[in-house]
Amino acid sequence: MQALGVRDLVKDFGKFHAVKGVSFTVDEGEIFGLIGPNGAGKTTTLRVISTLLQVTGGSVSVFGHDVTKQADEVRRMISYLPEDAGAYKSLTGAEYLNFIAGFFRPHHEEREAMVRHGIEIADLAERIHDKVETYSKGMTRRLLVARALMVEPRLAILDEPTSGLDVINSREIRALIKGYARAGTAVVLSSHNMLEVELLCDRIALINEGRIVEAGTPSELKAKHGVTNIEDVFVKVVTA
């Protein structure tokens, strides 16, 4: 089933045209990567899908629900992890997960089960009971990834999911994302780490100056451009 359908998406901020007609689809269980240079429109696209920004033109639907007209239904199905997200510093990690779980699981036992799952994903050991303000950048990011994934979204929207994480933590998070995808979660992610994109994504779209300039599986793109890695595809397409 199609999890996400973006059709001729246009997003303007006054006179500035951030997204100029972007189209792509993502199926259930698929990991789709959105890559591009800074200011290309990746984050804007992700924010529109997440119902944070209004659509200027075109349409975006999540499991058949329009993000503008049926925003409440869409938010029940998605989980969005911004690139520079934060957590409430006065709460402990566990309290923060409990706060978020409360939006998705009103019943006490279900909420507790979700929090336990989140604590497992975060893998912060006893530090989960310390205040977020005492966490390092990497620990905060692990907590936020846990927050995003513990709710078992049907569509996960992840902007730089492993930002600030060391190699080992990044590998663990990538493995986690792949596990969720295998279980049926559709994933849209954005990353500047081309290795991560190549390892994780089933399909990639390269966005530049608000338009998709290339799309396909990593293998297809590498073959098409006669290169051995996605980073070279990126440089070739963007500088062309």
Binding site: T51, L53, Q54, R76, F104
Partner: protein, 418 residues
Amino acid sequence: MLTPQTILPVVVMSIIFASLGGLMGDIDESITARPTVGMVDADQTDLSRVATDFIEHNAKVIYNGTSPEEGLKKVERSDGTALLIIRQGLSASIMNNTTGVIEVRWVMRGGGLTDTISTAGVEVLLAGLGQEISRALVANHTRLNTTIVLAPTVRNDTTILKGKTLEGVSPSQVANMLTNQAFVVPVIILMIVIMSGQMVIASMGMEKETKTLETLMTMPTRRSSIVAGKIIGAAVVGLVAALIYMVGFSYYIGSLSFGGLDPAKFGLGLGPADYVLVGASLFLAIMAGLSLSMLLGTFAENFKSAQTLSFPIVALALIPMFFTMFMDFDTMPIAVKALVFAIPFSHPMMAFRALMFHQYWLVLAGIGYMALFNIVIIAVVVRIFKTDRLLTGRKPKAFSGKTGWPLIDALARLGAKR
């Protein structure tokens, strides 16, 4: 440094102090002007004519007859301050070494401290009247008790205020009696509004600074629920803090002397229904403060800018506090009346005094106005929460023209210039 945020507070405070200066100037004029009085000489003796001649020379007498009721009506109609009644037997009492009685029926138009300014002239007149009678007694070489010569008369005060006749009290005593509410309630409301309001604005600034707002906005909950949650949370904390403050401040004010008069003794006490109305007025005023704070908070970029944005709330709470502390709504100039009525925080500040004098229309009108005010502001806030403005600081394309939301456009222009 020359930004709207730094210049605006200076300009607004200058306007406030200039207005207060003008008000003080008007008060000064009132004090030095001749008082407007009526008089009734029921004694009709040489001594009483000394008194009436003195009054004629030192006041503007608008009634000089024999009927106290008619005299009082004339004083009320002509914006006079008091009706002075020289009781029959004044001269006889004094000659019998007993103080004579001068009855003073004061006409107060409002319960504010400034409403007692006009009575100062009459107080001076009465003091002078006593001295004039003393001079007459000395000049006539009367063999009277020295005490009587020095203080030949006593006053019997009755104050008429908003249709209520308060026997045995002067206007200054009435104003003192009302001062407790006049000072305590506005200060408490000011504290609640400032504390809670700053909490809401700071919360919005912190959410943007710590990047938690985007996550919150993608949660499966309505925008109106997020707005309500922030307002209610701040309201609870603000009310608890205000309760603590109220106990302490009331104890402090209670320890000061305000004439020791009990309003209930004069039929000015409040019943249970009145307290319900005060409570409703207070609640709606707090909600108005929080709604406005949420609106301002949507324009906060971070915690620091949030502090600047709380200034309009502080100013809006200070303006009615200053006016209602010193003036009665009934006697305010029309422009000030309109301004005070328009500011939601004014209504609980005026509620106690209004209910004492059964001015239910003012309290109920205030409650109705504040309810409407809250609905409109919260609707505007929820609308902003649904737009891009909250996250990007930019006007959405649809708002780039004349939108019918001039407040949003004005604040957006202010934010854009930052």
